[in-house]
Amino acid sequence: MNQADLGILYRQVILDHAKNPHHFRTLPASVGQQVEKFNPSCGDVLQVRMVVLRNQIQDMSFDGAGCAISMAAASMLTEQLIGQSLPAAREKLAAFSELLMADQVQGQNQDGLFTDESQSVEDKGWQDGDVDLGELSALAGVRQFPTRLKCATLASHAVTALIAKIEGE
């Protein structure tokens, strides 16, 4: 096994977040709103809770079980979103989604191996206009592991649904 290949997916910052996830706790049911999402391929369940005041995210928490990728994604996402306005949060979510989808197909050569171009995006950090994804950009490596995309996006899908729910009220 090539440890360097694994390192493309499991960057140190991801392993750190997975081991010690931030905001991994249960907020009381009386606080804010919650959404639950399933990863149908592995059965993982993720609950995300968010407290919004005057259109600004005051606090977040997540709960559930997941792989290193989905735990780290949830942890880093809460880190990036707390304190943001809802429109800014939506922008970050869109940029994150683009980060994971960007040249996913071109990035792969015929053998399913990955070309250098796709790696360079990750190395220079992801910048989409002026949206700063911070540590979340470490997840760019997931593009090279398409079977793990669902793990990386479980939390962001939950948060997107949660914001829609909150804005709908």
Partner: protein, 404 residues
């Protein structure tokens, strides 16, 4: 020396810079050249629609298609070829039973008895049927060893039980159901017995007449055949009591503007142009299995399993689910490494060319029962070898080092 591995071209390829170690035969088996060659030969030499033309080509295609049916019948010990209905898969066979046999044989208050270890395809069609008819679903629990609890089975059987359906071999635990015993008990209360043989056929000899089951479902692609072809075996009177789920060409006898009469068994159930190449490929798979020998296959799978179980016992914090003896695993081995999610294990293994399944294996009620969300599953087939096992174990150790 030539080995069976030489028949599987795919085993020569590399994955992520390593020799392919394919350990996911329970999801779908690899296909030997003999099967691929027959499919090619059909298209090259005999391609025509079946049961239609009076011309030579159509006759040859029909002979091959019906020949495949006879081969399947002989392999599972069916009374006749007409007891073999070609479907798309196990899933389709079970759905046809739930839609074509279930409604005629159930009333509100009746019971359908399943077990806690079923694949979703042997749960969901019955749930839908239960909602439509008012019949109630019940589930037999498992023993600590992951085997069907016969005492609980007896308790839950009653005059209300109309359908009993269970897996011959669990696709997660590898455990074998005591089919004959369960069938006798179910027949005593007048219930119809359906067996999901997806993980049984192709792994050891099967004799449906001896088992005395009423229906038996399986998939070609899990027994060296191509995808898109499956089988529904039924005793003659049970197939006669079933309504077709699809209507159209091939399955009719005579059609007027108002009505139609239907063909004899088994063609009544095969509406439209069937998967001719698929059936021929399945027939070739049966020939191949017979040539290697189902006893030989069973022995080889057990031998690899015994070696795998003792290798895994050496890895700390690793839990194996299901029976602890190789005899009752039928090639299927599910486990978890404490503190490492199955997806992460599978990705690390994949980087070493070792292909295993991670997830809930379409058996979420069983996962709930085991108190887990998911597991890693490695399957050992007769075309795997000691080197596959060694690469698997060493990658597993690396996964543990990487994450724990």
């Amino acid at each position: 020396m030539k080995t069976v591995r030489d028949d599987f071209t795919i085993l020569n390829r590399q994955v992520n810079g390593h020799p392919l170690t394919y350990l996911d035969g329970a999801a779908t088996s690899q296909k030997p050249d003999q099967v691929l060659d027959q499919i090619r030969a059909y298209y090259d030499q005999k391609n025509a629609n079946v049961h239609r033309g009076v011309y030579t080509l159509s006759q040859e295609a029909t002979t091959s298609y019906e020949g495949a049916r006879a081969k399947v019948a002989a392999m599972i010990g069916a009374a006749a070829a007409k007891n073999i209905v070609f479907t798309r898969s196990t899933t389709e066979s079970l759905n046809w039973l739930a839609q074509g046999y279930g409604p005629n044989h159930l009333e509100a208050g009746d019971e359908i008895l399943l077990t806690q270890l079923e694949h979703h395809s042997n749960i969901v069609p019955w749930q839908v049927l239960g909602k439509a008819t008012g019949a109630r679903l019940r589930y037999v629990s498992l023993t600590d060893k992951g085997e069907i609890d016969l005492a609980d089975f007896k308790n839950k059987l009653s005059q209300k039980t109309k359908i009993v359906s269970f897996a011959h071999v669990s696709n997660v635990l590898g455990s074998l159901a005591p089919v004959k015993e369960m069938t006798t008990l179910a027949h005593e209360v007048g219930a119809t017995v359906i067996v999901d043989g997806a993980q049984g056929v192709g792994h050891f000899p099967i004799d449906v007449l001896d088992l005395n089951v009423d229906f038996y479902a399986f998939s070609g692609h899990k027994m060296l055949g191509p995808t898109g072809i499956g089988v529904l075996y039924g005793k003659t009177d049970f197939l006669e009591a079933m309504t077709p789920v699809q209507y159209g060409g091939e399955m009719i006898e005579r059609v007027t503007l108002e009505e139609a009469t239907f063909q004899e068994l088994p063609w009544r159930f095969e509406a439209g142009t069937p998967n001719i190449a698929g059936a021929i490929g399945l027939g070739a798979a049966v020939d191949y299995l017979n040539e290697v020998g189902l006893e030989t296959i069973a022995d080889k799978e057990e031998e690899l399993m015994a070696a795998a179980l003792s290798a895994l016992a050496e890895i700390p914090d690793l839990t194996v689910y299901g029976p602890k003896d190789a005899k009752n695993h039928h090639g299927v081995l599910s486990f978890n490494l404490a503190g490492v999610h199955p997806h992460d294990v599978a990705t690390v293994l994949d980087m070493a060319g070792v292909e295993v399944r991670a997830g809930h294996h379409c058996a979420q009620p069983l996962m709930d029962y085991l108190g887990i969300q998911s597991a890693v599953r490695a399957t050992f087939a007769f075309y795997n070898n000691q080197e596959d096992l060694d690469r698997f174990v060493s990658a597993l150790r690396q996964a543990r080092e990487y994450f724990v």
